[in-house]
């Protein structure tokens, strides 16, 4: 089955991203396809490359990045939600005249249309959040 995952909550504050990650891993192991992982609301914060979690804890962003590399996952951060929260990639920082960027290269920034298209293309869209 082909899944699109929607993650609406930030890392560590909420289990949504962890649950989605475990689901994605298990689904891929069973031979299912993850069409896209879309990060929205505070979920965009999962894409920060600057987080420094304690060494004995999981690194949520790196977990996603590793899984994405292994399975060529398309991980998309909503641009509108990201801009509101100060999440920028290098291109966007340049365009907006900001002096820093913080989005991990495993993620890409794009519009909400990618979420709707993910819902159209996948057999199931699963939401992780409240």
């Amino acid at each position: 089955m082909k899944f699109t995952l929607l993650i609406n909550e930030g890392p560590y504050q909420h289990q949504a991203s962890d649950t989605a990650y475990q689901f994605a891993k298990a689904a891929l192991e069973k031979g299912h396809e993850i069409y896209r992982v879309f990060f929205y609301n505070d979920g965009v914060n999962n894409a920060t490359r600057l987080a420094i979690p304690p060494q004995d804890d999981r690194n949520i962003t790196e977990n996603w990045a590793t899984l994405a590399k292994e399975h060529e996952l398309d991980m998309v951060v909503c641009i509108a939600a990201a801009q509101r929260r100060g999440m920028l990639d290098a291109d966007e920082a340049g365009r907006q005249g900001k002096d820093a960027d913080n989005i991990h290269p495993a993620f890409r920034i794009s519009g909400l249309g990618q979420l709707v298209e993910g819902g159209i293309q996948a057999d199931r869209l699963l939401t992780f959040g409240d």
């Binding site: 609301n41 909400l112 249309g113 709707v116 819902g119 939401t127």
Partner: protein, 136 residues
């Protein structure tokens, strides 16, 4: 599942200003209109406050985005379900809900209400018919 067009339902369950969910849900709804899918909205639980009449956010310093719901009709989004039990539980009636309308192209562009009262039980059945349900 029918080829091409899917049924998208956006379920709004939270009050409009305490969290960002209402505003960011509306942003997805407006984008979805560009994809020529079948789109409906549901307002239930505290979500019905999102389309309450006469919202005034001046004292809170928040942006009052409620006028944007009035544009939904222009985006061909005209199935807006309001759960009746949620209204009753909060001492509200349909008179407290914004008059959201659309122009019916199959009826000489007559202006019609987009608001459809629905019971909790009916809503469960309607959800069952959807291809994609996004709630917040």
């Amino acid at each position: 599942m029918s080829e091409g067009i899917k049924k998208f339902m956006f379920v709004n369950t939270k009050a409009p200003y305490g969290t960002v969910y209402a505003l960011e849900s509306l942003e997805v709804v407006l984008i979805s209109a560009a994809f020529d899918q079948s789109v409906s909205l549901v307002f239930c639980d505290d979500g019905i406050f999102q389309i309450a009449n006469n919202q005034n956010t001046e004292a809170s310093g928040m942006k009052n985005f409620s006028p944007a719901y009035k544009a939904l009709g222009d985006y061909d989004i005209n199935k807006i379900y309001v759960e009746t039990e949620s209204l009753e539980e909060r001492g509200l009636t349909l008179d407290n809900i914004m008059a959201l309308t659309y122009e019916d192209e199959d009826d000489d562009w007559a202006e019609k209400s987009s608001i459809i009262p629905i019971t909790r039980a009916e809503l469960a059945d309607l959800m069952d018919e959807q291809d994609v349900v996004i709630s917040s």
